[in-house]
């Protein structure tokens, strides 16, 4: 689980370390920390931390450690990671064909594409897609693989 939390800690020496240490105690991984001394509420300062923990059980464990250390959790939420992948189609298609194809998938995906001049009546389209999960990536892969098989194109996908 990839999460972001806003914590308010007492403005005393050692409090920042004291708020981060519990993440290691539940075998989590700290990705980024912002210690915002400008934001003070009830003599507490803001620590914004992005981290990973294995599952919700570990997260519950972490929350109770924070509470036991008198660390106030003001906000906690998931951070979505996006996966970017490239797909290339080579074949005898025109710009309308590729735009229609992309329209079909872009309902669920952020897509950008560029298309190159034709070589021996073949055109190349490079499609960059941003998706949220591996599953979405697999679906997109399947979609382009099917389209290229149906319309006799060469399909080249990213790693």
């Amino acid at each position: 689980m990839h999460l972001n939390a806003e914590l308010y800690v007492k403005d005393l020496p050692g409090q920042l370390v004291g708020s981060l240490e519990p993440i290691s105690m539940v075998d989590g991984n700290i990705i980024g920390v912002v210690h915002d001394r400008e934001k003070i509420v009830n003599q507490r300062i803001l620590v914004s931390v992005t981290f990973e923990v294995a599952n919700s059980k570990k997260l519950d464990e972490l929350k109770s450690i924070w509470k036991s250390r008198d660390i106030f959790i003001s906000k906690i939420g998931s951070v979505y990671e996006t996966l970017t992948s490239e797909f290339m189609l080579v074949g005898a298609f025109n710009a309308t064909y590729i735009e229609n194809l992309i329209d079909e998938v872009s309902k669920s995906t952020d897509i950008a594409y560029s298309s190159d001049n034709h070589y021996k009546d073949k055109r190349t389209a490079m499609i960059t897609a941003e998706v949220r999960t591996e599953e979405d990536l697999d679906k997109l892969d399947e979609f382009f693989a099917d389209a290229s098989e149906k319309d006799d194109m060469i399909y080249i996908r990213g790693l």
Partner: protein
Amino acid sequence: MRIFLSGFGTVGQGFAEVIKRRRDFFEDKYGEQPVVVGVIDSKTFAVDQKGLDLDRLVARKQEKKGVSDETYSDALAVMDSVKYDLLIEVSPTDVETGGTGLKTIRHALECGKDVITVNKGPLALHFHDLIALAKKNGCKFRFEGSVGGAMPIINLCHENLKGEKISSIRGIFNGTCNYILSKMDNGQPFEQALKEAQQLGYAETDPTNDVEGYDAATKVVILANSVFHRDVSFKDVKITGITGITPDAIAQAKSHNMVIRLVGEITETRLEVAPRLIPIGHPLSISGTLNIAQIDADLAGPITITGRGAGKIETASAILSDLIAIMSMRL
């Protein structure tokens, strides 16, 4: 160790050279030299129970295109005419029937002989049958050189990574295609790059097996069966070759800081050979005739190995490693 050598082309002659170069090693480690007691090529044969003079055989083969004046019609009868412990099968690959290689390997295993092969045909078509036959007759059966030439991928997975769960192997298993695609990176069209590969001896006169991805697919089958313990054959691999890759496609990839490479991929569910977009700087973006493989293991993480995928001495080095393994097991 008495060896029967089936096939005396480039690899067979390379093996003759390699065992000559490692004479001292065999003497020091085993107190004996491996002795080749029989050789067949496509038409001729030579046998001598005391051991053949390999230098003379190589010279004769190069001069007269045969290992002797004696021809044969039944390779198995020639094998039966001498006593040997190990068959080294290096005859040309036939992925449609398995060719002579399949017959000689089967025969040797049925007779209780150990076998080393680099011949992809029998392995791609009848892997599990051959493994079962070897097991039934208590024979050692090794085939390191069949995938990636000198790149030690099979024995690495079987021996060093024995305790790992391998989730995927992705690699470049055909040096010819990689050479052509590398040349296309620099602006050469496919036809010209292929011609250059043929002139340099990297591609056959009929390049179909390489450029259509069939050669890489046989290696994918061997890895799937031997490393992933799957039961698949050549027809199970989804294959796309490189003949349709245009200069536009290469240029588009380049503008996104990528190259196109023919990648073989094996997972629990996927068996594929296809052109893929590879970021420049990624290990699989290598240029030239090298082979490379990335193994994803659960404990060790990703492991990358690279090496020369073909060549007389390089492939013979893989045979040598199998020979040493078998000789060590017999100690």
